[in-house]
C-alpha cells in the first residue's frame, strides 16, 4: 500500500529529525520525508492520504523484552494475541524471551516461533535464544545455530546465570556472532524466598524481602565479566539505584554495556504492595522512590538506553491466589507508551529522547534495521496521539492477560496508527 502521512510532527531520533513534515511510503518502504511534499499524479494514483496534524509520527516502537508464552503456555498468551497487544500499544517489533516450553535453545524452536509469527503475528517477532540448554545454567546452547535460525540475542531471562564461568563463556562465545547477551541479574541466594523489595514496606506487610543487592551483585559481576571478555552485555529490567550507578560507571569506562528498564520500575514503588495486590508482584520487585528517581536520572543521562515492557502475561490461575503463591510478572505492551510519555509530560525526557528509548536504541542494541525513518527503510511507523486523555481499561486489551497494575489509571497519549512494513496493523483513526 502506498500512502502519505500529512503534516505530523515527525520525530526520528536516529536522524536527529524533529519537525512538521509529510512522510511518503511506497511499496512498504519509506520513500520521502519532507515538509509540504508534492506528489506527482502520474504513476502513483493509488496514494492514500492521511492528515495527522498535531500527531507524532515516529519510527515503529521496538520492545526488546516480552514473553509471548508460545510454545507451551498458550492459555496465558500466544503469538497471535501477544502481537495484537503489541500493535495496539504502538509496537511494530517485539523480542520474545526464550523461557517457553520447550525453551528456545535450538533452531527448531526458533523456526517454530518465526513460522507462527508469519502465520498469526501482526508485528515483527524477534526470537531471543537461551544462553544455556533448557535454561539449566550449566551448558551453553548453540549460539551459531540460533543466530542462523533468526535469534537476535541470547539470555536465560526469567532466571539468572548463577554460574559465573558460564556467563563468562557466554559473553566470550557470543562475540563470534556479535550477539548481545541479556542478563537477568539476580543472585538467587540473596533473593531466596523473597516476594517483594526488602525495606519498610516488606516489614509492614510481612512479605519476605529481596534486597537491592540481589540485583546489584550480579550487575557488578556481569560488568566485570564484560570487561574481561570484551563481550556485549545488556542488563535487563534495571530496578535499583545501585544498578544505575554501576552501569553509569561501566559506560564511563567505555565498556560495551547497555541497559533497559521497564515502565513499572519508573512509575510505581513498593508501596503498591501494601494492599497485597498480586498484579504488583514482579521480579525484580518494585523498589522505592529513591530507586525510581535514580532510574529517571539514568534515563535522562543515557545510562539506561532502552525502555522495555518485560510483558509477562499470566492468567488468573497464577495471579488470583495468595501473594506467596502468585507468579511474578506484569503485562506492559498496552500500557507502556502512555507511561513513557508521562516522563515527557513530567519534563524528565524530551519527546525525541523518549522515542529513542522505545525505538531507536533497542533496535540498535539488537542490530535491527528497524527504529528509523531513514529513506529506504522498511515502513515501520507509529503515529501517536499525544493529546488524548483517557482512563486505562484492561478489559479492552488485546492481550489474553489482565495482570496489569495500571487498570483505571488516567493516561495521556496513545498509539493512533501502527504500521508494519507499510501495512496498517492497528488503527484508532476514525476516518
Amino acid at each position: 500500500m502506498n500512502f502519505i502521512l500529512r503534516s505530523g510532527r515527525v520525530i526520528d531520533p536516529g536522524q536527529a529529525f524533529d519537525r512538521i513534515a509529510d512522510v511518503l511510503v511506497l511499496d512498504g518502504h519509506i520513500a520521502e520525508i519532507r515538509p509540504n511534499l508534492e506528489i506527482g499524479s502520474d504513476p502513483l494514483k493509488d496514494i492514500r492520504e492521511w492528515d495527522v496534524i498535531d500527531k507524532w509520527v515516529v519510527p515503529g516502537l521496538v520492545d526488546m523484552h516480552v514473553h509471548l508464552r508460545e510454545p507451551g503456555e498458550e492459555y496465558k498468551e500466544n503469538i497471535a494475541s501477544g502481537t495484537r497487544a503489541a500493535v495496539a500499544g504502538g509496537y511494530t517489533a517485539v523480542a520474545c524471551m526464550p523461557n517457553t516450553r520447550p525453551v528456545n535453545d535450538c533452531a527448531a524452536v526458533t523456526h517454530f516461533i518465526l513460522k507462527r509469527a508469519a502465520e498469526k503475528g501482526v508485528c515483527r517477532v524477534l526470537p531471543v535464544g537461551a544462553i544455556s540448554k533448557g535454561l539449566d545454567g550449566e551448558n551453553l546452547s548453540e549460539f551459531g545455530e540460533l543466530r542462523e535460525a533468526g535469534a537476535v540475542a541470547v539470555t536465560d531471562d526469567g532466571r539468572p546465570v548463577m554460574n559465573s564461568q558460564l556467563m563468562r563463556r557466554a559473553l566470550e562465545y557470543a562475540r563470534i556472532f556479535d550477539m548481545v547477551v541479556m542478563s537477568h541479574a539476580e543472585d538467587l541466594n540473596l533473593s531466596h524466598g523473597g516476594l517483594m523489595n526488602e525495606g519498610l514496606i516488606s516489614t509492614l506487610t510481612g512479605l519476605a524481602g529481596i534486597p537491592v543487592s540481589a540485583e546489584e551483585v550480579m550487575v557488578a559481576r556481569d560488568i566485570l565479566l564484560a570487561e574481561l571478555t570484551h563481550g556485549r552485555l545488556h542488563v535487563a529490567h534495571v530496578s535499583t539505584a545501585g544498578s544505575v550507578r554501576l552501569i553509569r560507571e561501566a559506560k564511563s569506562r567505555g565498556l560495551s554495556v547497555t541497559a533497559e528498564t521497564a515502565p513499572h520500575y519508573f512509575t510505581l514503588t513498593d508501596e503498591a504492595l501494601l494492599g497485597f495486590d498480586t498484579h504488583c508482584k514482579v521480579n525484580p520487585p518494585l523498589r522505592t522512590l529513591r530507586d525510581v528517581q535514580a532510574i529517571h536520572a539514568g534515563l535522562k543521562d543515557g545510562t539506561i538506553d532502552a525502555i522495555a515492557t518485560d510483558h509477562a502475561p499470566h492468567s488468573v490461575l497464577e495471579k488470583d491466589v495468595e501473594f506467596d503463591l502468585a507468579a511474578n510478572g506484569i503485562i506492559g505492551l498496552e500500557s507502556a507508551l502512555p507511561l513513557v510519555l508521562a516522563l515527557v509530560w513530567e519534563g524528565i525526557l524530551t519527546p525525541s529522547e523518549a522515542i529513542a528509548k522505545i525505538s531507536t536504541n533497542p533496535a540498535h542494541i539488537l542490530g535491527l534495521s528497524a527504529g528509523t525513518l531513514k529513506r529506504g527503510s522498511p515502513a515501520d511507523i507509529t503515529v501517536i496521539d499525544p493529546h488524548v486523555r483517557y482512563r486505562l481499561d484492561c478489559e479492552t486489551f488485546q492481550s489474553k492477560a489482565r495482570n496489569c497494575p495500571f487498570h483505571g489509571r488516567d493516561m495521556h497519549g496513545q498509539a493512533l496508527l501502527t504500521i508494519v512494513g507499510g501495512n496498517i496493523a492497528f488503527s484508532r483513526m476514525t476516518s
Binding site: 526488602e198 525495606g199 516489614t203 506487610t205 510481612g206 512479605l207 490461575l317 495468595e322 501473594f323 503463591l325
Partner: protein, 314 residues
Amino acid sequence: MQFARKDLLGIRELSAGEIEYILNTATAFKEINRRPIKKVPTLRGKTVVHLFYEPSTRTRTSFDIAAKRLSADTFSIATATSSMVKGETFLDTLKNLEAMQADVFVIRHSASGAPQRLAGRTSAAVINAGDGMHEHPSQALLDMLTIRDHRGELAGLTVAIIGDIAHSRVARSNIWGLNKMGAQVVCCGPPTLIPADLEKMGVTVSYRLEEVIPHADVLMVLRLQRERQEQMLLPSLREYAIYYGIDTEKLKKARGDVLIMHPGPINRGVEISPEVADGPHSVILEQVTNGVAVRMALLYLLVQKERPSAELVI
C-alpha cells in the same frame, strides 16, 4: 461508640479509640468465663467457621471456646498449605461456606495478606487469626489487655519485644497497638532477625539484651523457630539462648515489677528458661485466659454490627 468494621484484619487500621473499646468489651466478657455456667445466648443462631491453613492449637481452641461461650455454632476446617496447589481452593472453600450462610470466618494462613484478600470477596465478617509474618491482631489485643490488667493503662510504659522480630506477626501487631496506645516499644534481637527499616515503625532497636532489660516494664519474649538455624540466621540455638534467652540471672537487672509475657508455644530453655516462664513475673497463662475474652469481644462486636439493636446480654 459503635464498632463499625466488617472485618478485623490487623491492628494497623484500628484507632486507639477502637482498641480501647475492644479491650473494654473484653473486660466485660471476662466475668462470663468465671461463672460456673460459662455460656450466654448472645450469638445463638450464628455460624462461626474456623479456617486454619496453618497448624495452630492454642489460637483455634481459644476462638472456638469464645464462639461456643457466646452460643454460636462453630465448625473447623484445617488444611495444610502444602496441599493447596492453587489458591482457588481456599477461595472456593470460602465461597462454598458462605453459600451455607456462615456469619464469621476466622482465618489463619501461612501467606501474609490471605485474610485481606478474602475479606473483600465475602459479605461475612473475617477475623484474621494470624497471616504469615503480617499481623496477629487478637494476640496483640490480648497482650494489651493483660498489660492493662496489671498496670491500669498502657500509655507511658516501656515494652521490650525480644527475639525473632523479622518473622513475627505477633511483634508487628503489638508494635502497631502499643504505639497507638502511647507505650514505648523497644525491639531486641540479633540483627539477622530484625526486619529492614524497623525503626521507621516508631520503635527503638537494640541488639544487646542487657541494655534493654533494666528499663522495661514488660518483656515480651517471642518464640524462636528452630529452622532459623538452618536458614543461616543463627549459628546455634545454644548461642541464641546465651545472648537472648531470658533467665533468672539476666532478670536480676530487671525492674522489680517487670511482667514476662510469651505468645506461646514456649521453647523452654531457648528463648526463656523454665524458672522464668513459671516464675513470679510471668503472666503467660493470664494471656491465655484473656485470649478467650478478647476473642469473645471480637466475635460479638463484628456480629453485633449487623444487629444494632442487640443488647450485650451477659
